[in-house]
Assembly symmetry: C2
């Protein structure tokens, strides 16, 4: 048991939860390594939502609000860490939720669907078709889900799929702690924040958005501003890290 007053309680709890889900097959070994990379970048960010990330989260909420058909794409790590927060964002935004996996097997899709449904998420189901410009099982998605979406929120996406979604003309919002990843550089908007902080912030911004605020936010700085801001934070934190 991790004591709740441990300074890194949330981070250690997330790691334990993912390890448990790896034993269940919800999370893959590759997913665990990816989580570790995220932890390192979050550590450099100070394990907190920066001011620029909070602005990105408000813009993400505005993008979901103005979308005709928003979809949230959920993978194993996201389901393991944030099923409740996905339910909360879906309740606020009415976005569809689709399970979309890098290491796809029908068994994993089913397990993750059950995990999400248990948290109150309404999960889109149906027959996945090879509709994305990617090879093998990575091309699979639902016609009424990701394929028809104009705006896709993909927490923890890989670079290839992010690029494929952008190439189909979609607005792609990613949540990625590495501002240098190909995903972060390719997305329409990158939220450089940890998943379980980012999702509730997006939900809160969605619910609290005043009239006209969405339009104002959509004229905010573009993706590269947010990547640069995150890098500047990390550099600043490294500078005084050993003091």
């Amino acid at each position: 048991m991790i004591p709740p007053d441990h300074p890194r309680y949330r981070s250690l709890l997330a790691r334990e939860r993912l390890a448990a889900c790896a034993r269940d097959g919800v999370v893959t070994p590759e997913g665990l390594a990816a989580h570790g990379r995220g932890e390192a970048f979050d550590y450099l960010l100070g394990e907190r939502t920066t001011e620029s990330a909070l602005l990105a989260e408000r813009i993400a909420a505005a993008m979901l609000r103005t979308a005709r058909s928003p979809v949230i794409s959920v993978n194993g790590n996201t389901a393991a860490l944030a099923a409740d927060s996905i339910a909360g964002l879906q309740a606020a935004s009415r976005a569809r939720v689709e399970v979309n996996l890098f290491h796809r097997t029908e068994e994993r899709v089913e397990k993750i669907t059950r995990l999400l449904e248990f948290a109150g998420v309404e999960v889109l189901t149906g027959k996945a078709e090879p509709l994305l410009p990617l090879s093998h099982s990575r091309a699979l998605c639902l016609r009424e889900g990701i394929f028809s979406a104009d705006t896709v929120l993909v927490p923890l996406e890989d670079g290839d799929r992010c690029a494929a979604l952008v190439s189909l003309g979609k607005q792609v919002i990613v949540i990625d702690l590495n501002p240098l990843s190909r995903t972060a550089r390719t997305a329409t908007l990158t939220v450089v924040d940890e998943l379980t902080r980012a999702l509730p912030n997006i939900t809160r911004a969605f619910r609290g958005m005043g009239p006209g605020e969405g339009e104002r936010l959509m004229r905010s700085p573009g993706n590269s501003f947010f990547l640069k801001a995150a890098l500047d934070e990390m550099r600043g934190n490294l500078e005084h890290a050993l003091d």
Copy 2:
């Protein structure tokens, strides 16, 4: 298959190898996450041995050379990634090799011992006793191994055990890509480099050491110099990362 001309070939190969060893039980889920953290820091270092890390590797070689009873402590990740390099360093240095695990079960100790022996490592065996000032199974080590050592090389160690070894008066050399980790701050000497680059460099330095060079190297800067140098590298790389 990862194409050998991929710019991040070594990193991706290591990740694949660890994932395979996780499926075998040699590597734990926690070990995979720890590897991911290392990958992120290595990415910030430019995935190369820096000048300061190479100096630390030469000092590590000098420390192993002057030790009366050097021991290399090997965990699951180290065995999975670098069994061959451990064999090479043992052949050069005649250091004893002991399997010492954070998530210790007799089954894992045996699996890792077999994996090391297959690579040509002579592994110290015997009955582990609770000799380290740590709780539960983490206190276990061999009396003729880590307990009697004056110098211990512990690639990829955790902070508590590193502190325990230092508190017993041992010279502790760690290989850790995170210059801010408790391990890195606690060790006698931290090599901030990736394991499969660091170990062959230490072996090469060991074999090539001229007369009197070891003594000169031992008067080199202390641990905090190497941590600061690594942080400076990372900051510099972050500064131009988006150019």
